[in-house]
Symmetry: C2
Subunit: 338 residues, 2 copies
């Protein structure tokens, strides 16, 4: 038995019992899933590449594994979907499969610890995938998430209407701020669930499901590339413009700390353009009663959608004094080569 | 607009209209699929890594793209499934996105040509995926295929019974033989659909669907790792042993040519252990009337399943003279580092 097969056997052995929607999991040519009657399937795939989406010297293996699954779960959250199953394609250099340290765990074992802890928290079954040795020196992961929504009810980017209010969950700019801290070899101390928005972002599945179930949202997207870039996508798909109220932006406390240390020009800039927050951005009709908190997560109205006008920029940022400036998509490009 | 976004926009523009099962394709957080009522979903993911699953100096970009999709389609074929949609996660170094040569096509454009030609031939919609720049020098692809089967009817590896006959489609050893030729910088001339089993393998979707539809097969698997390895999987999942009739093996003519040139010890060895043929291996009840040809593909009975016995090897190869030897899984390991 090759090291690869041994590793898969060890992985399969540690997986919890599959959820209700999984009829056949790991071990056949395909997994077999049984969605609920009257439901549609939503599907997303997300690459996580060492050197592009995480750095070995900044992200622990547990953080990389958590982030891998969080990327996909956040896409399900943006559709209002319930998770059905996850599939992981994973390639790594052989040395990452070898046990190391006191705990005798390999890098990949710890990666899976992080991934499976988040899967467990959201009741997601890992039902299959693929593995290979990476000839390229770094870890390569592709996460596939399948979810289900009642037929015709998935939250799309294209459903917003002029006059709709614009909302975000949680606070923005924290993931970018924590990444800046890592880049400076420092850590920013904060307590509680929001302490590590970069290393352990929390996908907003319960919020998305509530938005769909209560018919609150007209459109939704997750903030992976930064508010300005993802709002631009939402405007484009809905054929609308948007105005953001600068004073209303929920700026993450870590963004404030990062700006105070001089790592960023402003905390607001991080909130507007910093990516990887994995919060939800959604629209709701003006008459909709959107709670200030959903499933324990703060929800903030940050502006409104409007009909596009010829000489107006697609996105505007309105200051407290009432003046407006154009807002361009300036989303975070991670640490990709430019 | 980044080069990546431009490339995705160009890709989306060239895609044909989505098939019936795709309600929302590229452009939202997730694709939305609508399976047929009373059907289950089957899912498979397959990595295709440069240097592991293909070599740039041996495989043209079109071949790499074809093989990428063929890997996934072959898994659907082994379940007897109809394709619902494909998703492609793709990372490449920036220079592979740049137009080259007279046709002004980039390596990735040609990769997609190969992939989309096969998708078109089988009516498969590319409904989403992910892209990134590869920081690792080589092309990284992960193909995800979703298919559908009538509820409870998917062909599993575990369904074989003692006494069932064992069948394969097409001929075996051709893909390994053509790979040997590429390694020797030579080409083996052959005409027709079976001319390039390595560069352009043909997934047996129509055969699989017919096996399911006519309730012919009790179990099935595709031959990706080599007959001996994949039969071992089928035996294990079904809790059975198997006897192969050596004289009955449909040996690919390229395997004979490769052996004649001294690149392999024997053509039979390539047929037994050579991988990547993407033919189907299936079992059927002794009373089942299995045609000699299904959907234009030859079908050959190569042996039978039997109850496991204590002192007998799980797999045996019976020669024309009647003597038997143990057969061990010796599947092709591509050109992986060992």
């Amino acid at each position: 038995m090759t090291a690869e097969r041994q590793w898969i056997a060890a992985l399969a052995a540690r997986l919890p019992k599959y959820g209700a929607g999984v009829r056949v999991g790991i071990g056949d040519d395909c997994a077999v899933l049984r969605p609920r009657a009257g439901h549609e399937i939503v599907v997303t795939t997300d690459l996580l590449l060492e050197g592009t989406h995480f750095r070995r010297d900044w992200h622990s293996p547990e953080s990389a594994g958590h982030r891998c699954l969080a990327r996909g779960l956040s896409d399900l959250a943006a559709m209002g979907a319930s998770p059905l199953a996850a599939f992981l394609s994973l390639a790594a250099p052989p040395e990452r499969m070898r046990p190391q340290g006191r705990a005798k765990k390999s890098w990949l074992d710890r990666f899976l610890d992080g991934l499976l802890a988040l899967a467990d928290a959201h009741g997601v079954s890992l039902a299959g995938g693929d593995t290979a040795q990476s000839p390229m020196g770094g870890v390569i992961a592709d996460i596939v998430l399948l979810g289900q929504t009642p037929r015709g009810r998935a939250l799309l980017r294209s459903g917003a209407r002029a006059g709709d209010r614009l909302y975000v969950t949680g606070a923005l700019g924290g993931a970018a701020a924590e990444l800046l801290a890592l880049g400076h070899g420092q850590s920013l101390r904060l307590k509680g669930a929001t302490a590590h928005p970069q290393l352990f972002p929390q996908p907003r599945l319960a919020v998305g499901q509530r938005l769909l179930g209560a018919r609150l949202a007209t459109a939704a997207i997750d903030i992976s590339d930064g508010l300005s870039t993802d709002l631009d996508h939402l405007c484009e798909e809905s054929g609308l413009a948007a105005v953001i109220d600068a004073a209303a932006l929920p700026v993450h406390p870590l963004a404030v700390m990062a700006a105070e240390r001089g790592w960023a020009a402003s905390a607001q800039g991080l909130a507007l353009h910093g990516g990887e927050d994995y919060e939800l951005l959604f629209t709701a009709a003006p008459a909709a009663r959107v709670p200030r908190q959903i499933a324990g997560v703060p929800v903030t109205c940050i502006g409104a959608m409007q009909a596009p006008a010829r000489r107006q920029p697609r996105m505007q940022l309105r200051s407290a004094g009432g003046s407006s400036e154009a807002l361009a998509p300036g989303g975070w490009e991670h640490f990709r080569p430019r």
